[in-house]
Symmetry: C2
Subunit: 280 residues, 2 copies
């Protein structure tokens, strides 16, 4: 069944209130639209454990540090709603800019700690924008559970921290990264890759897997990283912002997989910023 | 009836959930304890329009820019609960430090605009501390209405802005300042005044009334202000941080009461920081 499109906050709240009075567990999947199989997997994860599922679509200007990236971000709302129909999503909530940031809006939610590396450094203001809009979407939807992809692993940690710190009564659930057949992590920004570039972009994941295999064989991380950067450069990649090995809980920098860790990368290719991360 | 003292967040939430399922409107009065007639008037205002009333007591370290002020802040929890009994408060919520700021806590709520003058300048970090803890108390209590005194008028605007911006479904109600017989605005910090100082401290309110009368007579604000500062100095007051005339909505600085305005003052006397404000 095609989900209801809801643009009005008051109407959304009335709907959720009625659900909750009936004892329903409500799940939310915050997105910026341009839905791909990764988003659909989040909606399906919500559908599996919640009585009611809301998918939000809002391209949040506050989390774009780059105006061009914001302007180029794909907007495909009609197609998005159609894609959600087979999953059984109840409501697609599409607030307009004035509903999210009315005149006079002047509040910012800031998370320290887990934001002080990687995308927190390379995308100034990004996580403040994320934390602020997600706090708002949590209070607007009053959902019981929220579903985020591990593809944006640092974002997942920021959102978990924010919700816990502000005592928002919601469980933040992380879901596995969904990949193309060639291994490329799904992302709305992949739409901007050329056809050949789409294949070459999968090399990032291949190289991360190579580093993980090397770590298992006891090779030093610094050597593995340099080798991966050389391979990316040889394939025509642009700037490598970071390829880091970090602890999964606090993102502390590691030089060996001595405790639960992940490999994180952000690299530029065909003027698209690709990010990926895998467990080691 | 003596209110229940609740220290556990989970138990508080269960209680509020049951109230809400019964359709009760829940009011909250956030305090730092050391309750005086001003606080009791807020509890009474809540009692008048809410089915259930929670008074919170938490001396919030994050809103003290001065460690000595924090150390000296009066703590009188047992007496506080007794004072609330005649009003018919349902629950006094007294979370401990770890319930409000557990290990790893790293989120800050910042409000721009109305914080960029007066106490926002003279007490660095103060309103971030207020906005953060009040956001938490709003989400912890899940109250429908919150009651704050106009004595801290700038704080009232900050809290209103924060709650609206973060879409917390709560109505923030401002209540009139309660004064001693001599006109001194009630404040927990007044306990630190000497007996004679208690009388002299009332001069601040007298001078604000004098400025308001002068404005009604068409005298220039700058002249009225200088005259008030001279009178305070002559009475042995210390630093005058500010005596400002400002618009009531956005705290823009005014030089005549050309639109809805208030007089705001912060002055030091006997090492106590006195604040007050009145409508003009």
């Amino acid at each position: 069944m095609t989900p209801v499109i809801e643009r009005d906050l008051g109407a959304l709240r009335a709907r959720v209130k009625a659900w909750k009075q009936a004892g329903d567990v409500v799940g939310v999947v915050p997105t910026m639209g341009a839905l791909h199989a990764g988003h659909l997997s989040l909606a399906a994860a919500a559908r599996a454990v919640c009585d009611r599922v809301i998918v939000t679509i809002f391209v949040n200007p506050k989390q774009f540090n780059n105006p061009e990236d914001l302007a180029n971000y794909p907007r495909t709302e009609v197609e998005d709603a159609a894609k959600l129909a087979p999953i059984g999503v109840d409501v697609v909530y599409v607030p307009d800019g004035a509903t999210v940031y009315p005149d006079g809006f002047s509040t910012t939610v800031t998370v320290e700690g887990v934001t002080e590396c990687m995308d927190g450094v390379h995308r100034p203001g990004h996580f403040e924008g994320v934390a602020t809009v997600v706090a708002k979407l949590f209070t607007q939807t009053a959902a019981d559970k929220a579903f985020f992809g591990e593809k944006d692993f640092q974002q997942l940690l920021v959102v978990k921290r924010m919700a816990a710190d502000l005592d928002i009564p919601i469980e933040v659930v992380g879901c596995p990264t969904i990949r193309e057949a060639n291994g490329l992590a799904m992302s709305s920004r992949n739409l901007r890759l050329s056809k050949g570039g789409f294949e070459t972009a999968a090399l990032l994941h291949t190289e991360l897997q190579g580093i993980a295999a090397g770590l298992r064989d006891g090779e030093p991380f610094a050597v593995l990283r340099d080798r991966a950067i050389e391979a990316l450069n040889a394939a025509g990649y642009g700037e490598v912002e970071y390829i880091d090995l970090r602890g999964v809980n606090n993102l502390s920098l590691l030089w060996a997989a001595e405790r639960p860790a992940r490999l994180f990368a952000a690299v530029w290719f065909e003027d698209v910023r690709l990010i990926d991360n895998i467990a080691v």
